[in-house]
Structures are given as structure tokens and as C-alpha cells.
Symmetry: D2
Subunit: 425 residues, 4 copies
């Protein structure tokens, strides 16, 4: 991660303590409605069981923090290191990822006891004076756990979508849906020039968000809002999924191999379109942003629309200028909603759907991963992935910032990912 600038250590320490408590409670709260079985199942190799998320984020603190920094710390269960390491090669052998759903033991109850055990030890540690480096490590652990909070939601949605009974993770909304209409699509124009991109403290950021550096930004135009479900239905009706010329070569291969005919979680009954959400099956809202599309689909849509996806530099330079305004405060509604109202300026850059950019996830000039285990965090994924920006309805508020670089493979669809169009000026 980026080295934090010097801060008042006491204040920082107190802030981290509060952060730690808030994050850890929130993860548990997210699992409140899950049964032992819900929390154990794994619906595909890319997804993990909720129980695994609960345990892995805990293992991070146990292994990276307590085992190293808490004198005399005894592990809760020596076998958990093997079970709950995700991918840290430095930290030894680990359970095969596609088999995480077979771990019916330890039970959800026992994993919660594991969390309590680690939380107690962490609280003891947090009461004592700490180095800035240790504080930074714990802060990283909190942000790591927040990333898993979002994954926990996307993974549960994927699991429940596989169930013909369409169980709801979150209660259906009471009262009628907000009958908002999407703004008309419009573009703002931005001049070309040198822009500074990337994180430079203060405040937490992941290592891959820096170093801050200048880029040449061409003049370009950016859409005021994300593509809506209504527009996506037009794309489908116009042969979007059957016209190879709209697609990247690898994208067209996936269309055929996976039989894509629309976004993930969509289906049709007679004339009506439905989709699976964290609130269960729902009719499609044509004015809401399209969600659960892959990079390949986003790119094909843009080609069809005579536009293109923005680069991450274009996106960030606009976001920096504009500040964070999203609907992520509306945390009870875990699905993308129509934008708040008509505007020609880019709206809701944050907090509704992650926005695919055309930028491959690659190191910024001067990027160098840490030499220790946390150095495996981001750098080793810098091939074959595309950057997404903004944040979704499932993203913790603390992860909403202009420099945040989310990344997924171009065929991934189970994230809350949508599309904002751009054009050359």
C-alpha cells in the first residue's frame, strides 16, 4: 500500500481502533440473514462462501498482525491457516479454491467464535502503543475486509441466483418503487491536456492507486449517466448478441461459448423481463442502470452506440474535479437505482454500478509492490484484467474515492458492473 504520510499517531491509533470495530461488526451484520448452509456453499470457483469471507478476513489479522506483533499469541486453530489463506504464496500451502464450498466444518457458529477470539486479541493489541507501520497494516486489513464485504454480497447473489426458488438476501422494499425516469443521455466535453492521476496522501489507498503521475488526456466527451436497462433492451432487440462485428474477438468467443443472450441474472417470461437481485426476483426497471455485464458486453454496447468506454485516466480526471457524489448513502437498497434527476453533467460517478473502463489493469509508472506478504495484494494480478471505477450499491462508503482501481477479467459478470459511454471530442 502507499506509505501513509506522517500523522498524529495517537489520533490515528484511535481512528484505526474505531475503523476496526466498525468494519468487523459490519461484516457480521451482512451475514445476519444467512443460514449455516447459505454461508457454506460456493457457486463457482470465482466466488467464495460467506463463511470463508468471514474466516479469511479474520485469518488476515491473525497471520499478518497477531502472529507477528502480539507476543505469545496462540492461534485459535492451527489448521485454519491452511483453510483460509486465499492466495498468499509466501504464507504456505492452502486449500484448493474451487473446493471452498466443501468445508461444512468449521460451522458458521465456530467461525463466529474464531472472529470473536481474534477481535479480543486485536482489541488488546490496539490498546497498546503501536508503530505507524503496524497501524498502517491494520488499516490495510480493515480495507481488505471491506473489499470482502462487497464480494460477500456479489457471491451470495450468484449463489441465490442458481437456486430456482430465488431466495432473497435482503427483504423486499416496503412501499412502491421510486418511479424515477432516467435523464436523457447527454455528453459533457472535456479539453485535452496534462492531468495528474493517482493517489497521493493523506488518507488510505491501496498500493496500486499510486504513484500519482501526469498523463496526457486527449479532449473527449463523457456521458452524463450510465447506460440504462431500457437502452440495453434496444441493443438486444437490434441483434447485439448475434452480431460478431460489434465484439472483440475474445468477447465473441465468450458469447458463443457461454451462450450469452443478455446480462447475467436476466430472464424473460412472456413479454416481461425479470432479473435476480439481492431482494429476490424482480421485474426489470427500464430506467435503472444496466448491471451485471462483462467488459466484453460493455465494449460491444459502446461500439453499437457509436461510442467507446472511457479510459481510467479520463474517468479519474473528471471524478477528481467533481468530487464524490453518489447514492451510496441509500444503503438499504442493494441494487442499482435510476439516477436522481435530469442533468447534463456526469452524475453518480460513484455508488451505483462499477463502470468498466477500456484500461487494462497495469502498474502506474514507478509502482513497486511491497517486499513482504502484503505485496502479493495487487501487483500479481496485473495481467488480463480491466479497471473499473466508481463503486456500486454494494460498495462500502469508505471505498468510494476517485483514485480507487477495481479490476476484473473481461468476462466477469457477477460484479455490480455497468457502463458509462465516452466519445472522442
Amino acid at each position: 500500500m502507499a506509505t501513509p504520510l506522517p500523522r498524529d499517531v495517537n489520533a490515528h491509533s484511535e481512528a484505526i481502533r474505531r475503523l476496526y470495530g466498525a468494519v468487523r461488526s459490519q461484516t457480521l451484520a451482512l451475514c445476519a440473514g444467512l443460514s449455516d448452509a447459505d454461508a457454506t456453499a460456493q457457486s463457482m470457483p470465482d466466488a467464495s462462501p460467506a463463511k470463508w469471507h468471514l474466516a479469511h478476513t479474520t485469518w488476515f489479522f491473525e497471520t499478518m498482525v497477531l502472529a507477528v506483533h502480539a507476543p505469545g499469541y496462540q492461534p485459535f486453530d492451527a489448521r485454519f491457516g491452511f483453510l483460509f489463506n486465499s492466495y498468499y504464496e509466501t504464507l504456505g500451502a492452502r486449500h484448493a479454491r474451487p473446493k471452498r464450498g466443501l468445508l461444512t466444518r468449521p460451522s458458521l457458529d465456530e467461525v463466529e467464535r474464531y472472529r470473536s477470539h481474534i477481535d479480543a486479541a486485536m482489541e488488546r493489541l490496539l490498546e497498546a502503543p503501536m508503530t505507524a507501520a503496524l497501524l498502517a497494516l491494520i488499516e490495510l486489513g480493515c480495507h481488505h475486509e471491506q473489499q470482502h464485504q462487497e464480494l460477500l454480497l456479489t457471491d451470495i447473489l450468484h449463489l441465490f441466483a442458481e437456486n430456482p426458488l430465488h431466495p432473497a438476501y435482503a427483504p423486499a422494499r416496503r412501499g412502491p418503487r421510486p418511479a424515477r425516469q432516467a435523464s436523457s443521455l447527454a455528453y459533457s466535453t472535456y479539453d485535452g491536456g496534462l492531468v495528474d492521476i493517482g493517489h497521493a496522501g493523506p488518507g488510505f489507498a491501496f498500493d496500486c492507486e499510486g504513484p500519482r503521475h501526469p498523463q496526457v488526456r486527449p479532449a473527449f466527451r463523457l456521458a452524463n449517466r450510465c447506460v440504462t436497462n431500457r437502452e440495453w433492451l434496444e441493443f438486444m432487440a437490434d441483434g447485439g448478441y448475434t452480431t460478431p462485428l460489434l465484439w472483440l474477438s475474445d468477447g465473441w468467443t465468450e458469447v458463443q461459448r457461454q451462450g450469452w443472450r443478455g446480462p447475467l441474472y436476466w430472464w424473460q417470461e412472456d413479454e416481461a423481463h425479470f432479473h435476480m437481485t439481492l431482494h429476490g426476483a424482480e421485474p426489470l426497471d427500464p430506467d435503472a442502470p444496466v448491471c451485471h455485464v462483462s467488459y466484453f458486453e460493455a465494449d460491444a454496447f459502446a461500439t453499437w452506440a457509436g461510442a467507446r468506454l472511457p479510459t481510467e485516466g479520463e474517468w479519474e480526471s473528471v471524478a477528481q474535479a467533481q468530487g464524490c457524489e453518489g447514492n451510496f448513502a441509500d444503503s438499504g437498497v442493494l441494487q442499482p437505482m435510476p439516477a436522481a434527476g435530469p442533468s447534463h453533467a456526469p452524475q453518480q460517478l460513484f455508488g451505483d454500478v462499477w463502470e468498466w473502463t477500456r484500461s487494462a489493469f497495469s502498474p502506474y509508472p514507478g509502482f513497486r509492490p511491497s517486499a513482504d506478504a502484503v505485496g502479493e495484494y495487487n501487483g500479481k494480478f496485473m495481467s488480463g484484467q480491466y479497471v473499473l471505477r466508481g463503486g456500486s450499491c454494494a460498495t462500502p462508503a469508505g471505498h468510494i474515492r476517485a483514485t480507487y482501481r477495481n479490476f476484473f477479467k473481461p468476462d466477469a459478470r457477477w460484479q455490480f458492473a455497468g457502463v458509462r459511454l465516452a466519445k472522442d471530442a
Copy 2:
């Protein structure tokens, strides 16, 4: 199934009522120690979750019996038909087999309510007078459920064996292990001649066990007991798994593809051998029958030993003459045990491990499956499978009989299957 001979309908009706109650309770009892998650997970496409076994056997009665024969019966949940049909093409679309482990809902509790609901309806039905055909159908449902009782155990063992924590399904035995020594290997000789093979009432049998028909049996010899773990270790030490000439061509392909180096569930720590059992991880008992080997391994072992596997006709003709004597009464011990004592006659033909025969599972002369849904029961599996005879420590006592034809693909290893050798006379 074979048409039952005429019996006293009242007595038969009462017997079926008792059978129904006993079988249904026993299935539930087998799940007493399982958590919701244990009962939900699926460790491979060939295995099913315990919850699925509980529900599928119930669905059989609901769909085949109640929906047809109970006037005004209302299904417990109309969506369960899709979820819990196994492979009956006549009964409509069904949930994909490899995805059974994703059904975290309905929960284990709800599946138990489903069972209670069906049991109540069945009990009402069973109180009224019934035709012989309906009684036969219910009897078939009970035997079907007993088959799933054994599968439930083999599938749970497979799941728990995937867990690095090695959870035990059944409590470890109290007290010391019985220190029995295996008998010396010896062969009895049987004359050649015509023998009658197959089921001919009275009593229940599956359709594939008949018609009874004559076969020419060559003179041959049959071993007094099954191959032991000690003998299997000798085979391994003598290069059994690295000598292609011992293997069938397809078997050698599997050895290489799957990396077989010993029976399923075995591992070595330093010099000692262990295996995973329903009682958890245990040291290997060298005198116990080898278990969890495939047909290919059984055949290779026989070749190495200068012997061969028996045909199912050879096996059955000896078993008929001898009657059922096994250790299946010892139901608290769910793993193969050393044979009771020295003898030169074939011992324990029943109830320890299923014994692979060299007979492909094929129809007896005159076999004709039923025309209705239960006709999909056995006939459609008559390709690519080998017959096993006898029954294992996990087989319900009611399934121990000389004519019973169990069958699995030649690479299957998760059943309680072992080896009895034969030779030409």
C-alpha cells in the same frame, strides 16, 4: 420390478406399513448428526447432498404414489418436483445434477417438514385398502429409499474426506479395536454345470434381478475371504500402480489421469498408513478387507495375484448355496472389519464390502423394464457399468440377498467396494 407373487393382501399391507415406517425413520436417523451445511454440500457430481437424498426419496412417494393415488392430494411445494427429480425423463425437467450442492434453500429443517407432510399423507393412504399394484409400488419406494441410505453414507464420507479437518460422521468406537487376524487365503473348488441365476419370488426384488434363468457355470475356484489391506500394501510395494501390463487399457488411463497410487481415502505419514472412514481418520487395519477400490484396481490386483474376478453367475450360485451370512448385524461399525475367523469356505459374502465381479451390468434374458416411470429404474443404466455383489457395512440388512445386483462404473471408488478373487478350476 419383478411382479410379486399373490400374497395375503391384508398381511402384505400391514407389512408394507411397517416397512414404510421403519425405512423412513432410519433415513432420518442417519442424518441426526449432520448440520444444515453438512446436509447441503455436494462433493462431486456423482455424489448428492444428504438433504437431497432426504428430499428425493420423499419426492418419489409424493410423485409416484400420492399425486396419482391419493385423491385431492396437494403438493407440499409445487417447485420441489423440479428440484428433487433425479433422472426420470418422463417426469419433466429437473435441476442440474452437479448443482445440487447450491440448494441452500429449502433448509434441512424445511426438508424435514416436507418429509413429515408426505409421511402423514402416506399414513392416511396406507390405512385404506389398496391394490396389490399400489402396495408393490410403495414397497419399491421403500427399497429405493434404502438404496439412498447407503448412498447417503458413501456421499457423506466423500464430503468429509475432502475436508482437511477429517470430521467424523459417526463417533469413534469405544474401547480397543477387535484384534482379529485375517484367515489365510484359500480357495474352494466348484464343479461346472447348469445353474439357475436370478430372482424368482416370493419377496421383493428389483426388476433387473430377474427373470431367473439357467446359465452354464464352468468349474472354478473362489477365495474364502476378501483381499485384505495387508495384501493390497504388498501389491503397491510390488509396483502395482506403476506397471501398465497389470491393467486394462482404460484402467491404466485412469491411473495416469487421476494419479492413483493407492485406494481412495488412503494416505501415508512417515511409515504409517491411514485412511478416512465414517469414524474419522484411522490407522489402517492390515487384516481388514481392502475397500474403496475401483473395478480397474480390482482387476489389476487379480492379474497381479495370478487370479481373476468372479463372474456374477459364479458368485450368485455360491451365495445361493450358502445363504446369507455376513457381519451386517454389527451396524454400529460403519467400516469393513477383519473376518470372523479361519475358514476355507467363502466367508462373509455379505455385509462387509461390495465385491466387484467381472460381469458387465446387462439385461438377463427376457428382461423388460416397466413401461411407466419406474421403468427408468435400472434398465437405462445397462451400459458401461460392472456388477457388484454381496453388500457392505453400509448396506441396509433388507438389501442383503443372493440375487441383488449393484452396479457402478469401473472407475468409481467412493462406494464400499472390495475384491474377492476367483480362479479357473
Copy 3:
């Protein structure tokens, strides 16, 4: 192979010399119309290049005969052993089967020089006195080569069928097609009883054809002719390929996995049906026997027709009684033709299409493979295969006999395999 009965060694020696010459010339003759590229390509792992067949059959004589029995024999090229061993584990490492088509060198010309070299050495050997065992080995090599003659034709057909240009292996027939009409389908009834099955000299047979042994044959009925293309079209029109209940479970899996909608090599243009043959693309003759169907298709057709496939014992007992009468003399026509005329007795048991039986390929009682390399010939394939009987339009006349057991996996379709129906009496 079966031990030959004592014969006059000189006469035998002369017969083998003639056989050797005839077989070797015939193999070359079969390749006369092939280019270097035709002879090199491999269209699937189960098929081999013609050049490989030419070389492998030669390698058999070089390795099994000359290297052992010709004093001072020098191999033509020491590296060919690696290239042209098929599957003999006793004879060392070998080139990977699916990569045979990458051996553009040695060229077809050089392989023909290899053949000449071996033929010259063999002729020298054959001039000297030989033991009966050596003669038997050479005879086996000739029959082995004849098996490859048929495979060479089936493999070339598969290759050419992959080519959109539909090249013809053999010239199209001159003059009009024989406008024969298939006989009406009729069944002959055979009594039950004991029958002797299997080879018992004199004359050559492969090891798996013996020992001769008694079987109980049930009373049954056998069709007078094979199923025709016309009848297969009716099966297709009646939903044969879309009705799962007609199929074995594994068969239905293959239908879906491979997308079968008709026999291999068939296609439709507007209303007309065509198929690819060794004479190139041709319109389908509705009266000719259906060909290029798998066991699974044969079984499904029989179920649809209210019949079943014969066992190999049933088939052989009828064939023994009837003697060899086929149309295999018509050797210029390398495709199945309509039967010669109306008859109620089984016709053309030989020489038109191989006939699938319902018998799994398994050892006869008392079968024991040879202990040396040729012992790998048949026994190691005795799992997962079904027996075919009779012989096809591509079978060398010398391989047409009542006891011959051909065998293939139940999903194989590229052989000249068809269907003769049977019924219980």
C-alpha cells in the same frame, strides 16, 4: 492367439508365405490413390494416418519377428520403434497417439521404402525352415495387418468427411446404381437350448475368439436383414433423437454432448438426404443398410422398434448354422448395398455392415492372454466396449467368420457399423 492345431509344416509355411505376400501388397494397393498429405493427416485421436498404418504393421514384423528371429537383423531406422509402436507397453515408450498426424517425416515414400526393406528381410526369413510358433506369429502379423486395412479405410473416410470438398477415396461407380429394393423386415424364430460358441481350430483365430464353450441360448427371433436407411429416417422423423426415454442413460448424454441428429456423415439439403462415402458425397439410398451408427443409436432404434439387439451368442449360433454368405465379394464397392433379394431367413450376416450386439466385450470362460507382447492384443481392451459381428464392405474376406469378435466403444460411429434386430421368442 489360439494355439494352432498341428498341420503339415511345409504346406503351412508355403501358405503363410503366400498370405504374407498377398496381405502386404493389398495394404499398399489400398494407398495407391493417396497423396503424401492424405496419408499423413489424422482427423481425430481414435483414427490414425494411412502412413502410420503402413508403418505400424511393418514395425510389427520388424519388432516381433525380425528383431527376434532373423540373426543379425539391423533395424531400418532405430527411431521408428518410438514412432510406430501402437500401444505395446512391453515394447517401450512411444509417440503420443493424438499427435500421429504431426509426423510429416518420414514421408510416404520413405515409409514405402521401410516396407520394402522389411519385406525383403521377411522373404529371406520365410525361405528358411521355421518352427510352428514362428509361423503362427507371422500369421498373426498378417491378420493384424488385415485389421489395419479396414481401419485405414474407416480412418480415410473420416478424414475426407472433414473436408468440405468431399474428396472421393475410390472412383465413383460407373453406370447406374443397382436399383434393389430391401426385403420386407421379417423374423426367424430359434429354439432355446445349449449352443457351443467360440473358435476351436483348425484355422486362424484371434485369442479372444476362444476357448469354445457352451452357452444357454434362450428361444429368440432374429431379423432377416439389417435396418435400412429408410427405416432410420422414420426413426428420426418420429423424434428418435429427441426422446430421452428411448436411450440408455449414457447414450442420451452423448446425444446431447455431441449434438447427434442422425448417423455420422449424413446431411440434408432441402428435402434430400446425402451422406459421405468412400466414393465421395452421394444421395442416400433408402434401401441400403444404415451405417455409421453407434451402439447407443443402435440400442435406441431397437427400443423404438419394440425389439432389442441380439447377443453375440445368439448371433454366432445362427451364423454357424448358416455359413458365410455375404456380399463381401463385391469388393470394388466400398459401401453397404441393399440386400440381394427377398428372404425371410437372415441374410448378409457377413460383409455389409458390422452388426452391433448387446454383449459387452468380455473374456470367454478360460480365456487367458499370452504372456508375451502379443498378449496385449485383445485382453486389455475388455472393458467398456461392445462386440460387433459379421464384417463390413471394408473387411478383408479372410476376416469373415462366425467366431470373429470385433469391438468398439458404444459411442464410436466411424466404423461401418449397422443394426440387425432381435426379439425375445
Copy 4:
């Protein structure tokens, strides 16, 4: 492609005529030593048969030029369009790529007749006056064919490397190898600043080489020469292929899946290292540049060496300043050779091995593919690929330029690709 600047049309026309003739002869010349079988076989889906390269490049002229611009042109064979279209979705259905090796017909001879036929028609066309657009299209066709010239060599090498006989494509060099020693590894430092990158006429370039645009280049250092085989052996000896921390996550997956232990085509006999080359099997020259490594290997090596790969902008900015100096004139030697002599400035940026950059292949700002069929040329491959720069010993001299962007997937190893290291300043 980039729109050519206005030039003297007559002079241009004459230049294109000469280019056409030279390119077409050169392609044929490259096949002079290949047999019909050599030219037909396909060793993997990513490679194509030489015959296919010969025909496909010809099909390009027939379909894009003659069919559109030559009045009354009759296709040589109407079926060739299906056979020899590579991936142009606008131009209809086409033969499946992995099955190109099954096209034993048309023969190599007939494909050469196809080439003559098209050449004759093209020459007639080229004699008449032409628009600048048509000239540009023919020029593109020539450059397209030159790309296939290199692929033809890489594909033949891959095919011959699969052959245990190790055939040589080109004759072994006469006389002793040049006993050059590689220069010491040294780095030149370059200042940061704005640099212009990309093609801006005059002269031919592919569409993806433009538009020319400014980039911010950070200060950095670039190695004077490529990594040598000797250095790669050190990497291997130091556990390069068994240390996961050196690798990108996807790279480590490939190491394990494909069992990489060294560059493609390398093997060891006792202590000595050999590799397969176009001149047949040869001992490894420790001073020659390493070749046939993937992006993943290049990146792991750089990490091991405490360096990184250059970006394509860094590379191009140095190459522009330096001009084209390579050893590509030495065209008789089709393998990378030790650099010419000691120097601290970057040497041999061109013509020895392609140099992997860390830049994903993505569109330059303002890039827009053509709307017609040739628009499918580069843009649709802009996902999942990395850019290589420079050119190899197998690259036609006309393709050696500072702006040329070659691209391959990060696991591709059969190209002549090596590694030049860079470092942050």
C-alpha cells in the same frame, strides 16, 4: 490502416507492382523445401499449415481486391472462400480454425496453381490505372502477406519441433558458428518528458500504429542488449520456474498447467542444453538472446533480475531516436545470434527477437478501425494481448520499423520472442 499521404500515383503504382511481385515470390520461396505433408499439417490451433498461409494470403487478394475491383473476375474455386477466410466475420462462414490441418485437398500443387491464377489476374489489374485507395488496399495485402511469412516460419518450427526426428527446415550453417561473446549487460538512462508516439506518414503502417500522439514518458533506463541464454540458465538454476512469488498470478497458473521448466524447444541431455531451431536440433549458444519465452516468463525473469519490462512508449521513443539497426540483413540465419559487439547503448532493437513490453495492446487515443472488412484487421484483438516491439530474425525487412506493434497473448511461446530489461530511473 492509416490513410496514406498523397504521393505521385504513377510512381506509387510502380512501387506497389514491384512490392507485390517481390512479396509473392518470397512466400513461395519460403515453401521451397516443404513437402505436401509438411505444408498441410497443423501442430496446434494457434498455428496454421504452410499451405493455408499460401492460400489465405492469396484469398485476401482474390476477395478484397479482384472480386471487387476486377470486372468480370471469376473465382478460381468458389469453395475456397470458405476454406481460406481466417476470421473476417463480414465475409461469411469459414472452416473451423483447429481443423485446418485436415485439408489434405487441395494439394500443395493445386494451391500453387491458385496462387498463379490470382497473380496473373493481379498483374493484369496492376497494369491499369488505379485509385490511391485501391493501391493502398493492395499495399495492405502485401504487408498482410509479409506478416504471414513470419507466421509460416514460426508455425513450421512448431510442427517440426513436435517430430521426434527433428527435421531441419533450413540447411545447417556451413562452417563454424560465429564465436561471439555477448556484451556485458548495461543500462542507458533516458530523461522523462513528453514524447510523440505512433505512426504519421509517409510510408505504410497498419491502422493500430496511429494516430501519432503525445505521451508522458517517465525517466527510465533501458538495457543495451537482450537477455541471453546464459542468463536464462541462471534464472532456471536459481529456481525461476519453481518460485511463485516471481510470477504474475495468471503466469504461475500457466507454469503449473503447462509444466513449464524452461523456454519452449529447450531440452537437456546429461549436462548439455539443446534447442530445436529452423536449422534442426542445435546445442544452445549461451551468448545468443533467449528466444521462445512467453510474456509471463519475461515478466518473471525481470522481477527476478530486479528490473521490469519496458512500456511500448519507452521502447519506441528510444527506437525513434536511434533508427533501425539490426541484424536482419543476415537473412540466411533463421535464429537469434549473439549481438555484434560490446556497447553500452541499446543494440539490436530490431531483427533478432521480438521484445515483450509491459503494455497491453490497446487503442491509441483517436484510433478508429475502418468500417469495411479490413477494419477487422487489428482492433478486434485489443483485449488480452501484450505488445512486442522490434522484429525477429524471421521478420521481413519491410516490417522493421519503430512504430510496428506486434501482439500476442501472454502465454504464447512459439513466436521468436525474447526479453530486454528496463528499470525506473
